[in-house]
């Protein structure tokens, strides 16, 4: 009995969250079809609790199995590899999905429409596969599963001109860049005849050993792949969709796109660059990514400075944040601390952006406005909202005691370790520039005066999101070391798990 139970666990554990998500998907679909319209208001709670339960199960099972020498982590015929790194990113995705559900329940555009939650579950499913993908086929399929659902979420308000325009723009950019990515994958397959990551690495090394021709061919494939992944994380010059999607889409969709989607894409990016590309390619991709990181940070911050709409401002801010996180991927070329820094940064970024979008949701519920000017007097209209927004803005700006400070600190120190001091300096200068527009929001909230300063109501489900994210940010910022140690262990497994 015992000998049989081991292979079963070996097979189930790597895809446990995906199986759970499929069950949740069926449950929510059934709920939407069979329950009467009035009771459908509970769908956001059911989905949210489902996501949260899955996260807890996933973490407890993950801690038990991952790192155990008897547990290979490979599932579905070795197209999935679960290590501590994947466990960490999956937990972020599931948490972001759970909090997004609660926000959606308090959004007039979504509220009880079951289709939104179905798209959300499928998107989370795709992302969970993305961060554990160990095969080119799964990379493409998981990426598209997540993307197609996100297009639906972005264009969800069919009757709104802005939302459908945002959806179509997101779709067009996404479809084109993923086709380019696919062509890059076809070239990688063509050079090696392999699709599995563990066999691709050695095969590509053999190719580069042939001399400059092999390297040149790989650089072409690298560029094509980078277009697709660059779109997902919103790196300049593939960032054009970001501000419009952030402005036009329903706020909960934006919250999910800006957090879970970015985290999942960075998880995939880190795994792809640390496992697939051979050592001979490092100077090419590290140099290219360093240049992209510098341009992305600078352009994102410059354009964010002049924004009047807070969602659009956070769109440009998220471009800049992708630039910072890219520094960690560059540092990966020399030190595995790069991967740890990216993981920590993404965890803090998920919490921070969810907090900011929860505040935006709450203000939108009360006033319907997303202009920064309408945040005037927020500290008197609802002090808790203003406090959470302050924490979120300080965290995005990298000011202690919020988590963003350590996030940037680890990234920049990893860059210095890897010999990219110039990139760290550009990062620090950018962080200072960015403080200007983050502090502007705080100034408007506390100093600005509104004509009507009546109190805001905070909906109960939004209050949960505000509490969880606000406390989470401060906890990560004051007690950073356990999280950091976890991230370092995870990044060590990233390379150890190779056959």
């Amino acid at each position: 009995m015992l000998t049989e139970s081991v292979p079963l666990m070996q097979a189930v554990v790597p895809v446990l969250p995906e199986m759970g998500l499929l069950l949740l998907l069926i449950l929510v679909l059934m709920h939407g079809v069979f329950s009467p319209k009035e009771s459908r208001r509970t769908v956001c709670v059911i989905t949210g609790v489902g996501f949260f339960t899955l996260m807890v199960i996933h973490l407890s099972v993950g801690f038990n199995f991952v790192g155990d020498p008897d547990f290979s982590g490979s599932g579905l015929g070795d197209i999935v590899r679960v290590d501590a790194f994947a466990v960490m990113f999956r937990a972020m995705i599931l948490l972001a999905a759970a909090l997004t559900c609660l926000m959606s329940g308090e959004s007039r555009a979504i509220n009880r429409r079951v289709e939104f939650y179905v798209a959300l579950i499928v998107a989370a499913l795709g992302m969970c596969l993305m961060v554990a993908a160990n095969d080119l086929i799964l990379v493409y399929v998981a990426l598209e599963t997540a993307s197609v659902s996100l297009y639906i979420m972005a264009g969800f308000q069919r009757d709104s001109k802005l939302s459908s325009e945002a959806g179509l723009k997101y779709y067009l950019f996404g479809a084109v860049t993923s086709a380019i990515l696919l062509y890059g994958l076809s070239l990688i397959f063509g050079f090696t005849g392999e699709t599995n990551f563990s066999r691709l690495g050695p095969a590509l090394s053999a190719l580069t050993a042939n001399g400059s021709e092999g390297v040149f061919a790989l650089v072409v494939a690298l560029l094509l792949v980078l277009v697709g992944l660059g779109f997902k994380v919103a790196v300049v010059p593939f960032h054009f969709w970001t501000p419009d999607v952030y402005e036009g889409s329903p706020t909960p969709s934006v919250a999910f796109i800006s957090t879970a989607s970015k985290a999942a894409s960075f998880g995939l990016l880190v795994r792809f660059f640390s496992i697939v590309w051979p050592a001979e390619m490092i100077p090419y991709w590290a140099g290219l990514l360093a240049a992209l990181a510098a341009i992305t940070m600078t352009l994102g911050n410059m354009l964010a400075l002049v924004q009047k709409n807070i969602k659009r401002m956070l769109g440009y801010s998220s471009i800049a944040q992708a630039g910072y996180a890219l520094i960690g991927v560059v540092a990966l070329s020399d030190t595995e601390l790069g991967a740890a820094a990216v993981a920590f940064y993404m965890a803090m970024y998920v919490l921070t952006n969810l907090a900011a979008f929860a505040v935006i949701s709450a203000v939108e519920w009360n006033t319907g406005s997303v202009q920064i000017a309408d945040y005037a007097g927020l500290s008197r209209r609802s002090f808790p909202l203003a406090i959470v927004m302050v924490v979120a803005m300080l965290s995005l700006g990298g000011v202690p005691p919020a988590a963003g400070f350590f996030g940037k600190f680890f990234l920049f120190s990893a860059a210095v370790d890897a010999g990219y001091t110039w990139l760290a300096i550009i990062g620090v200068v950018n962080a200072i520039i960015a403080l200007f527009y983050y502090l502007t929001v705080i100034k408007v909230m506390f100093v600005g005066k509104a004509e009507d300063e009546s109190r805001y109501t905070i909906r109960p489900r939004l209050a949960v999101v505000l509490w969880v994210t606000g406390v989470g940010i401060l906890l990560m910022g004051t007690l950073a070391s356990p999280w950091w140690r976890w991230a370092v262990e995870a990044s060590q497994q990233l390379t150890v798990m190779l056959p």
């Binding site: 086929i137 069919r158 179509l168 063509g190």
Partner: protein, 110 residues
Amino acid sequence: MFTELQEANFLVPTSYYVILSAVLFTIGVAGVLIRRNAILIFMSIELMLNAANLAFVAFARAFQDLSGQVFVFFVMTVAASEVAVGLALIVAIFRSRKSIDIDELHSMEG
């Protein structure tokens, strides 16, 4: 089925397929960049995907390895679902604007 000599005569070198796929891919990219009608852009994207499919099949034959063919099946499935969502978005746009010219999509700027 064929003797070795016949096979050598019939066999088109893999490089021909790859060059054709590169040409198709370039036409697709050009179509995306030049065309302004959303439906025509969709068709150009399909061309890009199918160019990649052709490359996969050609490589799969060259390596005598089925995983390239499997990849193509997945790509076709994904492309179908992608088009379904894309057309739905186009319908939504057309209802609110009576046009699917992507140059007219500029309600948000800055």
